[in-house]
Subunit: 221 residues, 2 copies
């Protein structure tokens, strides 16, 4: 933790950040599209397909930025394929509601994390990361689906709360794997937050936002 | 075949046309997204995911038009779910190249058919159908993938030609099922083409365009 927080992050770190985010969007696209098949109604299916299409639009914007930085998107994404595929393999929804909670809670966590990290990079990259790390409209949809289901079958609340905890656990676990592998990303994060109290603050903010989402869904966090 | 070709088609027929097209786009979205997992490279996967996202954009525009016409998209799509799901179930690609040929040949045929039928409806609907029945950029991608594969493994040509014939056969079969079920669509088509020679002309044009696509791929039609 020797470099000052104001030091410009390496291009390698920015490319890593965008590469992880790009593959995150591409894999989210594929998994949301797949999960849309769990929807009990055509309108639910259309809503989740719309989220998938939105993620693909984000993917396209990030790959454009990577090309501007002189990097082939495939090369930038390659180091993060295994971790993201592991996350998805370990959190494959078996019901429609699990897929809705995953889309809201899992992607919400990821978006919060990327928005935090975006503060440590150049303004143009930061703006892009901020723009692709919002999930417009998703909250209302998820809240409506989950609250309606729990109103009819209250026991579902406990099960979905457990499911959300699993999502959080696997996300943290895969993030740790990635950071252990990618020194430049770790340096970006560590220099960005500054010191241990910075790390604690970051984790506290991520936890708070996760709790807000769980409250919105009517689930214990 | 009693109504004049110039007679305005019923709203029911227009809603049927848009409903079939909407579900066609939504199911194409899901299947292209799924098939993108067969891609041997991340760039191939991104290309097919882009096609899926484009189809979803089309889906959204068609559902907006249906709502303008006072119809819930789900209601308009419902009669066509079975036929389109049968088509996809009977033409599930088992290799990346099969999925590429399906995206190009299958969706190309469907687009040609819808563009023909669009000439028989009101100008606003016709324009929309024309706009969502183009597949920009898809041709180059498909041609590149298939020609490169055949250059390395010439025996693939015969297999992919057979596969394309199966796509055509299943598409015709499911279209016949739909027309047998939906009098308003059949009336739209029959009144539109006018008479038997009109039907023959339509089929000849569809066949010609299919042959052009097969030639572009380097496959026997």
């Amino acid at each position: 933790v020797s470099a000052p927080a104001s030091g410009a992050p390496s291009t390698e770190a920015v490319v890593d950040l965008l590469g992880a985010l790009a593959y995150g969007e591409l894999s989210a696209f594929a998994h949301l599209a797949d999960d849309s098949g769990l929807a009990p109604t055509l309108s639910g299916r259309a809503e989740m397909s719309a989220m998938a299409a939105t993620e693909f639009g984000h993917f396209r914007r990030i790959t454009e930025r990577l090309r501007e930085l002189g990097t082939e998107p495939e090369d930038a994404m390659a180091p993060f394929v295994a971790a993201l595929e592991s996350y998805h393999a370990l959190t494959e929804p078996s019901t429609w509601l699990e897929s809705v909670v995953k889309a809201f809670v899992g992607d919400g966590m990821a978006a919060d994390f990327y928005r935090e990290v975006a503060e440590f990079v150049d303004p143009q990259t930061a703006q892009l990361v901020g723009e692709v790390s919002v999930a417009a409209g998703r909250a209302e949809f998820a809240v409506r689906e989950v609250q309606a289901a729990i109103a009819q079958q209250p026991w579902l609340g406990g099960r979905l709360a457990l499911w959300a905890r699993r999502l959080v656990g696997e996300a943290i676990s895969q993030t740790q794997h990635v950071l252990a592998d990618r020194d430049s990303l770790t340096a970006l994060l560590v220099h960005g937050v500054g010191d241990l109290s910075g790390v604690a603050g970051l984790l506290a903010r991520l936890t708070d936002r996760h709790t807000e989402r769980m409250v919105a869904l009517g689930l214990d966090s």
